[in-house]
């Protein structure tokens, strides 16, 4: 063990003489990891937004087969019966904590490029503050039911034109006044505009809701609530725990982002690995005499392997750290909108570890073959060259 440390330390001390070629590995890995982590930060930010929207103690009800709230309809009467289902939490006055929601959208223009984008306008029922306590007003005042008034999510307000408090938003029945700004724990609601459901329904000239969200008496009441709805007469409905619903909604887009990240990062990593192979082969060529001498005076092959490997891994580690730092400096917290959804890219500690693990795995490949060659190098031939 001690000899391994000695040999490794010796080889690391010779790096300054070879910094030019070592830089190739560092830069290569920094670029590959930087690309990987940057793209993954989009996925991490997207997932963070989606998961902080859904709560395990809420359930969302939509019509059967609806792929999302947009494609769902819930009749007014149906919504009324649903509020009486068992498993729903009730407030001090015994009123069930539920909201039947309607969603419309309106066109706003994106601040960065002026492109028209549809943002969701959610109509919520009266009990909403108890249902979604994470939605907090941070400026202005709440909308008044019956008035054409609306509050705007922080993300939407920052990303799009014309959504400041006092601005007017074009919706059916004219211009609606923006009365306040809210935040919502960084969730998807922050990309939405919220108003009163009945006011929005009548403006849209419809009586059908899109979905119904309920607060469960406890997270465990979900089964009771779901069974009660499934066994009641009437059209089939789809009941999901809200956290599961948002996880499901984000799955395919997240897979898409991750595929791109690993394809791009992987190809760049492959390029960087060839660079690492080059560097490490030339490193052992430069150290041929030294290695042969070490072997001749009795140091084992393992010590040589470890010393070459650790050199390769060290370069990769430095490269990965630079790549992660670069991605962090450039993209962490960067606000980005995908259609109407506003997210903040996130370079999380988990992503940093992913990037470092990725680089170390490639470094292991880039170091292994040269290390094996170094350990097998015929001592006599190498020393003869002296």
């Amino acid at each position: 063990m001690k000899e391994i440390i000695v040999v490794t330390w010796m080889s690391l001390r010779t790096i300054p003489g070879r910094w030019g070629s070592s830089l190739v590995v560092v830069v290569g890995m920094a670029c590959a990891v930087g690309a990987l982590v940057s793209i993954l930060s989009m996925s991490a930010g997207f997932l963070r937004t989606m998961t902080s929207t859904g709560s395990p103690s809420r359930a969302i009800v939509m019509s059967d087969g609806a792929l999302g709230e947009w494609g769902s309809t819930i009749a007014h009467d149906e919504a009324v019966t649903l509020t009486d289902m068992p498993g729903i939490a009730r407030d001090g006055g015994g009123k069930p904590i539920v909201s039947a929601d309607y969603i419309a959208y309106t066109l706003v223009s994106k601040k960065s490029d002026g492109l028209d984008t549809g943002v969701a306008v959610r109509g919520v029922s009266g009990e909403d503050p108890k249902l979604r306590p994470e939605i907090k007003l941070i400026a202005g005042r709440w909308f008044r039911p019956g008035q054409y008034e609306i509050v705007v999510g922080k993300g939407a307000q920052e990303e799009f034109e014309g959504l400041k408090v006092g601005d007017r938003v074009t919706l059916p029945e004219g211009e609606w006044l923006v009365t306040g700004t809210f935040e919502s724990n960084g969730g998807a609601n922050e990309s939405e505009l919220i108003t009163d459901a009945s006011t929005l329904l009548s403006a849209m000239r419809t009586s059908q809701y899109k979905s119904m969200t309920v607060r469960l008496a406890s997270p465990a009441s979900f089964t009771q609530f779901k069974n009660a709805i499934t066994s009641r007469p009437g059209p089939a409905l789809e009941i999901s725990r809200e956290s599961d619903y948002y996880a499901e909604q984000s799955k395919s887009f997240d897979e898409f982002l991750k595929t791109i990240a690993y394809v791009v990062g992987g190809i760049m990593g492959l390029g960087a690995t060839f660079g690492a192979l080059n560097t490490m082969y030339s490193a052992i060529a430069a150290r041929a005499r030294e290695i042969a001498t070490l072997r001749a005076i009795g140091f084992g092959g393992a010590a040589v392997v470890v010393s070459v490997m650790s050199e390769a891994l060290l370069f990769c580690l430095i490269g990965a750290a630079l790549g992660v730092a670069f991605a962090w400096a450039l993209f962490n917290g960067y606000q980005h909108s995908m259609g109407g959804l506003v997210i903040r890219l996130a370079v999380t500690p988990a992503l940093a570890l992913t990037g470092i693990g990725f680089a170390l795995a490639l470094g292991a490949i880039g170091g292994l073959f040269p290390a094996a060659r170094a350990a097998r190098m015929p001592i006599v031939d190498a020393l003869r060259a002296v």
Binding site: V27, Y105, D113, T117, R205, A272, G275, N278
Partner: protein
Amino acid sequence: MDAMKYLPLVLAGLMRRPARTLFTFLSITVAFILFGILAAIDGGMAHQLEAARLDRLLVDTRYGTQLPLAHLDRIARIPGVTVVAPRQILVGYYRDPKTPFGIIMTDRRFFDVRPELNATKEQIDTLLKTRTGALITVFSAKRFGWKVGDKVPVISNTLRRDGGHAWTFDIVGIIDDMDRPGKARYFIGNYDYMDQERTSQKGTVDRILVRIKDPARATQIGRAIDAAFANSDAPTRTGSEKSERQSDIRSIGDVGFFTRAVIAAVLFMLLFLTGNTMMQSVRERVSEFAVLKTLGFSDTAVLTLVLAEALVLCGLAAGAGLVIAKIGVPLIGEVSPDLGQLLLMPWPALLTGLGFALAVALVAGLVPALKARRLSIIEALRT
């Protein structure tokens, strides 16, 4: 070509350390495969925009409501409008719930709005005579392995009046989109079939397609359409096909920025890689260059020789990578049609790639080349 006689010398220089040259070569090749794929993503999107017709307007809902069929007649009366067609998408899947697709439920007018579809009059007649009929594109036929005469069940989220979710279609013909042959994923059925069978939203569509006589009046006609419905139950938002596709592409993010950033990172990496290889090679061959100079090679000739090595290495490796990408991109389409239809690698992209490779070679080779040029014979041979 007088310069050609130096080619063996250039190749000998490169092959002096075959392993090093090989790894550098592979690294550059891989980088340019990535360049090719990114160029294909860009190219695919550019092509979609180019294929957008200027004489076509899309009428969508402004706030999220369905559009009543009555809108069609009203739009047809607006001056300058030549054809109006309904469109309702039926979303469903065939066997695999994970790959849902959209079926366009429409009528004869759809083919007048989309003349790029090569459906014959007979095919359209058969479609309209067969209530459950469907025309599909070559792409769709290949994707699902369907042929004319097949009866295919599509499971949809749209409820049927019999309480079921299975919508049956009879494939009556296979057509193609002449603007994107083999890549367009159309599945076209009869609007009436859907409207009679569905339980809600009867008599409405999710989009109205409009063809106009004079593309120059597109904006004006679009405004006239929206004005006509501003105070109706279903206000509209009319836009050109091009702006629609632009915002579709933008909705996944700034793709152009992304591809440029990755390409910049790749080139940066290659600069170091190639520079290092050339530097090592020049350092090892100091005495060889001295011999060349002794034999009468000028300083400039030695500089050119080193640059030529870098150019040959980068050019060949990048060429290999670009060719692999050019051949490989259509193969991606064979494996995954969904990805394949987004990719298109234009020939000019190959030239751009080659240009980048040669630029990298020149920049990366410059310092080693200058070093070889400055080399003094006496000092080099003394060591």
